[in-house]
Assembly symmetry: C2
Homo-oligomer: 335 residues x 2
């Protein structure tokens, strides 16, 4: 076991690492060299007060609080090396954690990465994972500030994301109130469609497959929603209806979706027809899009990119579409 934080701190603008022959394994170069390749030449934003190289990192928390969340991704359960490039897997690992920070109305300030690698793993896979993680961390406005590398029987990636609320109250799941508007930022169903295409070995609709491989959260839309007065928010990791059910249950309200949210794009419809599947199901129950869903007072102006998809009513934790339960979800009876 060698922590990233054990390695010597490098000047921030050292030359980047050289690519290695793909036959070189993690066991060949050892953990210290692996760590060195992870941290060398990286440029940190001002929020990284102390980066890799010591027992721990130090990250700015300007308003005296830090938002923190963690997600673990397991090979062949959350990702497949034959379906996604290591770079895409790295991006997705950071994205799904960063989306949780955004869903609190916060901005990302740092990521920590713990990596379990089989000793036979090619170093080039780890290099690409790191590239992807850094790429997405920068997209989220932050950096990879620390980590750990250990031996493992399967590839496992555990990420912790940190964030800053900029003086605002966190936007909880429990704040939705009857009369609020339900709004969505981003797309729902595209990741599920991409997964179904990969499972079917169907290489058409590359954009949908890309949506599964690399979800692209709108990080800035979380703080924007908070500023606009969002009363509740979540990121869509389990599915639109499932995550709205969490909000409905936590808030003690019902959510009724407008039927127009059920209108799939031509692309989704074509993919569904090609596979003999239902595009509506993807939209309502497909997970991993990491779009943001939230509720706003009816008087609020929705921030850029957010669109109304329904409304909050008094009730007890159910989600319906035009008053009807949704097929394939816990409340389903018929649709």
């Amino acid at each position: 076991m060698r922590r990233w934080t054990h390695c010597v701190v490098h000047p921030k603008k050292e030359p980047a690492i050289d690519a290695l022959d793909p036959s070189v394994t993690v066991a060949d170069i050892g953990e210290f060299a692996l760590i060195d390749r992870s941290v060398r030449g990286r440029v940190h934003p001002p929020s990284t007060l102390l980066g890799p190289g010591d027992d721990a990192a130090v990250v700015a928390a300007p308003d005296g609080r830090v938002v923190a969340t963690t997600d673990m991704l397991m090979q062949d359960k959350h990702f497949r090396l034959d379906w996604s490039s290591p770079r895409d897997i790295g991006r997705k690992a950071i994205a799904q954690n960063g989306a949780d920070i955004a869903a609190m109305g916060a901005r990302c300030t740092g990521f920590l990465v713990a990596l379990g690698c089989p000793s036979s793993l090619s170093v080039s896979v780890v290099d690409e994972l790191n590239e992807g993680m850094w790429e997405e961390a920068v997209r989220a406005g932050a950096a990879v500030v620390g980590g750990d590398v250990v031996g493992s029987t399967q590839l496992v990636i555990s990420i912790t994301a940190l964030g800053d609320l900029e003086g605002r109250r966190p936007v909880l799941r429990s704040g939705a109130r009857p009369g609020d508007v339900v709004a969505l930022r981003g797309d729902s169903g595209r990741s599920a469609a991409g997964l179904a295409l990969l499972e079917a070995g169907d290489v058409r609709f590359p954009e949908l497959i890309l949506s599964h491989r690399v979800p692209q959260p709108h990080y800035e839309s979380g703080p924007a929603a908070a500023i606009a007065g969002a009363t509740s928010m979540a990121d869509i990791s389990d599915g639109l209806v499932a995550d709205l059910t969490h909000i409905a249950e936590a808030s003690g309200v019902d959510v009724d979706l407008d039927s127009e949210v059920l209108t799939p794009s031509d692309e989704l419809n074509s993919a569904a027809e090609s596979l003999g599947l239902d595009a509506l199901q993807w939209i309502l129950t497909g997970g991993e899009d990491h779009a943001l869903v939230g509720t706003f007072p009816s008087t609020a102006t929705l921030p850029d990119g957010w669109r109304r998809i329904g409304r909050v009513t008094g009730g007890g934790g159910s989600v319906t579409v035009e008053g009807r339960p949704v097929e394939g979800t816990p409340g389903w009876t018929s649709f």
Copy 2:
């Protein structure tokens, strides 16, 4: 995949969970129930501003910075379920992360736990892991504020620890200066002795075995060292000489240890004799004690519990004992 942060927030003083029959597996009760058992009835300290139940936790960071570190523990590599109880494994997982926070001179403010569990794992193992993690988190002055549970082929525990510097500068590895005193807080070698006893199936010396199973960092001694003016600090995870070498290299100094630090206790000597091993090697090169080692100006008064073990000289990253390289370490030629 279900994040702890997805579960409903429970009142802090709900009745604790009931014990389940050990034959009940993780797959039997499912991930939501598993998460529920992890968070129900827990009492959080004031530093937990928002605990489990939302997309992310919120933790106090009073001075506008947060210290953060992560370590991953893998079954059969970092722990064995036939050598340690799940409770002890949980304690150790938190302890080794908390010790990293202390080694920066900071106080622990929160822990996040990502857990990968085989579906056949007994729920009672997870319950005991959680008990151990909570027990040690409380010992460290903090709480488990969030987490994630996923399916896995082997048990894997990934912890992130957060800490507060209380307005002080972090104590880095790079601050040791010639003339400084080297001091140790805690014991070195006991964990290695315990591991050797477990490997040999020798059940005598239960206190040494306990030291391996449950390292007991002196969390409060990290901030105390910082207040006393420590110029550098690290926790001993890789071994006394290895971790002092990190300090020597980062600071551009040499470290020379006093020979009296080489005097093993009667207990260590007896265990070593019984196994035909060398107690000195345990002290110098054994890891996982999670004692703290640091350097202080020669004029500083060492805080309670710290004892002088050597001195810093000008040089280039070597660690010696009375001027001689140490056997079994990178600089070794003879001893």
